[in-house]
Amino acid sequence: MVNPVVIIAVTLIAAFSIGIFQFLGKKFVRGVFWLTILFDFTAILSIAYGFLTKVIKAPIMVKIGGFPPPIGINLYVDQLSAYLGVVVFFIGAMAAYHWINRGIDDPEPKALVLMLLLLLGSTGMIFTQDFFNLFVFIEITSIASYGLVASKLDGFSLEAAFKYIVVGSISSTFVLLGAVLLYKFAGSLNMLDISNHINKSMYSGGMLIIISIMFLFGLLIELEVFPMNGWALDIYQGANPAVVAILAGGIVKGFYLVFVRSANYLKFPYLLKIGIIFGLATYLVSQFFAWKQKDIRRLFGYSSVGQLGLLILAGAFYINGNLTGFAKKYMLFAIIFFVLNHSFSKSTLFFLADLFGKRNIEEWKGAISQNKFFGFLFSSSVLSMAGAPPFLGFWAKLFFILAIPRQYFYIVVLVLIGAAAEILYYFNLYRIASENDGEVLDYKGSIIPSLFNVLVLLGLAVLGAYKFFTITGMEIQNAKFLAFITVSAIAVLIIGISRIAQWILALGMLISFSYHLIRNQNFVSVFNIQSFFVILVLVGAVIFLFATYPLSKKYSASFYPLFIFTVFSMVGISVASNWISLFIFWELMSWSSYLLINQGSKKPAWIYLVMSAIGGYSMLAGIKLLSTGSNLIPVFKASAIAAPVWAAILIFTAFLVKMGTAPLHIWARDAYGESPDGFTPLLSGVLSKMGVFGAILTIVYLIPHISHSNIILYGLAWFGALTALFMALLAVFQEDVKKILAYSSISQVGYILIGIALATSLGYSAALYHTVNHLIFKGLLFVAAAGIIYRTGTSYLPEMGGLIRRMPFTFLAFLMGIITLAGIPPLSGFAGKWLLYSALLEKRWMFILLIAMFASIVAFMYCYKLLHAIFLGQLRDKYRDTKEVPLPIVIIELILAGLTMAVGMKPSLILRFSDKAIKTLGFSNPGYAYEGAHRIVSKFGYWNAYFMAVFAIGSFIIALVLFFLVKAKIRKVGQLDIGYAGEVPDSPESVHFGYDLYAHMRRAVRVFIYPHVENSYRRIYQGLMAFVDYTRRFYTGDLNTYALWVIITLSFIFYILYKGVF
């Protein structure tokens, strides 16, 4: 361990000595600089390591000048300051490296001195325990920053620097006044001494309020609090990115620590109020203002400011929020994680922004798709920044939400809204950056600092997860499983050179995992709803993964890892035992699936992500409502929880989003339609079923505990019914095969939702049966569609036609799928419909039954459209040599088609599993009965699947035989040989009826298929955008105004905290 003061002294000496070394040459200066940084970093790391390993037990107290604390100045280094010091020096070193690498501004020795002194200032700032000394170090930091901010010497940076100087001077004036007045008040400048001297009752006098406010207000200005943070944003925008990286990544965190610590020492009683008002305002305002931002650096600036707001909020709660026990610990970790996450990811982002060089985000097109490594770094930092699991930001956010007391629920809501807003703009940027238009881009400079940062970030992610699971005391299986997922995905990623190897490895992993699961006696013997979904996920995943092989050539190396990630996180959801672990895996699923969709198309993926974020965060808010004071992690089977209606609604929102229930469906069409073809079957067949799983959980465990549960269930059923109907109607008018199937998927999941909302055993039977069945037939259709798109190169229906001649097997399978989808008896689709209608009849929900049945009639329209437009009609000349779809896809198609036939004959193949699952939900029977071997009887009706199948097949054979007995001489004619008024059609296109098949229907239902919902979303979005665009003019760029806002804020704080004068 090194005496902390040595760090300061050595740095100082080094800085001074550079004045001499500069005459010896550049190398010497750099040598001195790097040696110093190295020394400082090592020293502070040794201290931090001492704290970490508990070698150092108490905070280090260093007396300077040999005088005991109140007399002399002393340094006080505790864990937090040591850790922060490590971060500051690390980021500082990276920033310096980056700066030197990108061409440091002349004269270099001076610049390096400024850099050193900046680090020195911030180190001193977080080490010192003397208010005035703090002021001195703040000034050192500020002045060094002034110089560095102006370093580029162009209009932007100078302007920013001058604004910073003026506002910084005002800030330091208040800090100075506050420090001196504190001395006057308490007779000392030592923080601890003053703290001992102050008690809360002194605040009633008013004097201490104003003094504390003045001191803390000065720091608040430095903390870039709304509305006095215009200067900070200008710096982020205008200054050298290397400088900004160290400012945002390190220095501001020092100010933050100082602020929180000072407030703590001052026992400032209004910290919570200040924190809530300013923290929240800063957070929300900057997250929203960033929406319209086109300059990438200012965008990052807004994000930084927002994170600081969140930090202030968290700090206020930690110091002043009356948190007890675990909550306090959670909040501390939230703060630490926020700081670490933001420091490393934001500095990386600024480095990368500088490497790429373009300012306008529109010019970032292709930035991450062109350079894979750049993309990896950028994605990691953005994901971490936006709080995607398993990155650190996620754990921070989770800790934060868990720690906030329940009576501050509105804060939870607002913070989550802000988080969603953050995702919105970050991934708008990500969307643009991942688009690829093939233009060759250049990246200037070295990525080493970013690489280091990202490596640290990845390490921190592990740390975060580890800490989260150990501190919250959640089952260790969750952590193990998470680690397992990550390791598997990384393993698949590593062999990314060869797609075949990836495919085999991923398939092997899935199969061996399933095998182990089935071998597990526990799993098999206790067959419940969770096992049902685990099996569903694994079976679906194996099947669909198998089918991806021919398509995988087109995909990037991250396809299979993300696939594995998605699948296993769905397994994680299915085996979750409490709401939090459900949420963790839920988010994991959302993000990994987002990245997968993003490989196909960007904008839809973005919408998907934003909707998922809204859903996920509302679920988190709902979970928060479920938690009680001592029990922060609500489990499913809490019998006596007082679950408020809102909790159920909020949690349900997440599931409704995933199910694509109207009016939350807007993501679905394009996300399904434009995701990679290999992934869409999984998305539709399995991933949307996670919403079903969640919905079942909610209805079984939560809804019974709330009042008016019947109304909620009835409402849900209506949502399901309307979704089923309108999505089917919308599907009719799509012209893209995958989009039709997308709408169809949502529509079918609407049926499932009705079944769940019935909450009767027959309803669950119907829902579970249909869940599996939908996996089979929709998977089949999507897989077939993938094959067709692979062969034809288009998913646009009017471009196809007549493919039955080229792809007979696919047609056969597709036909089976369509018949199943339409629910026509001999195949498996009908059983689900029959069960559902019987359940609805039983519950006498007539209107819903009417809508549900009618929706299935509407479904015939798009069913026919799909078959006709792809396979029937005229074959185009360009597809004359098209081959049958690749073999793996054909295999999967035929397997699935065989499955629908088998299940159509014997629905009990599926029903026997769903019966077991239903028994564990607390029902004694599945709601229907067998009469004989095959006849299924409900209270209203009966139905014999086996007979129907035999009857249909038998009659068909009889008809066929009859036909061959009487048939005339049949000859095959060419496709253009049609009755065409004696003419010969000149081309297949001219007689192929493939576009807008239901134009006549459109006229009848125009009002229903008008995109009302999408338009209202768009209008809301555009309205918000316009609003944001207007309000962000708040930052006028005028120095006077910025300064004026400082004063206005101060008077506002005075006014709300101390009304003594007025």
Partner: protein, 121 residues
């Protein structure tokens, strides 16, 4: 009390300049005035009626040989020490500000705020 009021007035005059003046140099002058006000305020906080400067002579000691000083003889030395630091810092900030203004002038040939409003929104 007058000292307090006067130095507060100085501070607010300086602030007013920073809030209202459109000329960069004038703003810097305002900041300097503000600094001066603060320094005056600090000094006046340390003042005690009827005491001398904290330069100790023999008569300020309790008794010969002990070297202990009679506290009631001299004013508070600490604010003076603090002011020393504050002044230097003020000088440094002013110097930085002026150099930035020089550079700004060289970029735009202007020292009016209206020409430096490119960073906004």
């Amino acid at each position: 009390m007058v000292f307090f009021a006067a130095s507060l007035l100085l501070i607010f005059i300086g602030l007013y300049a920073a809030l209202v003046k459109r000329n960069l140099i004038k703003i810097i002058i305002g900041l300097s005035i503000m600094d001066t006000g603060v320094n005056m305020l600090i000094i006046s906080l340390g003042f005690v009626k009827g005491r001398t400067a904290p330069i100790i002579s023999l008569k300020d000691l309790f008794k010969k040989g002990s070297l202990l000083v009679d506290v009631s003889k001299v004013v508070d030395p600490l604010p003076q020490a603090l002011v020393l630091t504050a002044i230097v810092i003020g000088v440094a900030v002013t110097a930085m500000a002026l150099s930035v203004v020089i550079r700004m002038y060289s970029v735009k040939k202007s020292i009016e705020i209206d020409d430096f409003k490119e960073l906004k929104w």
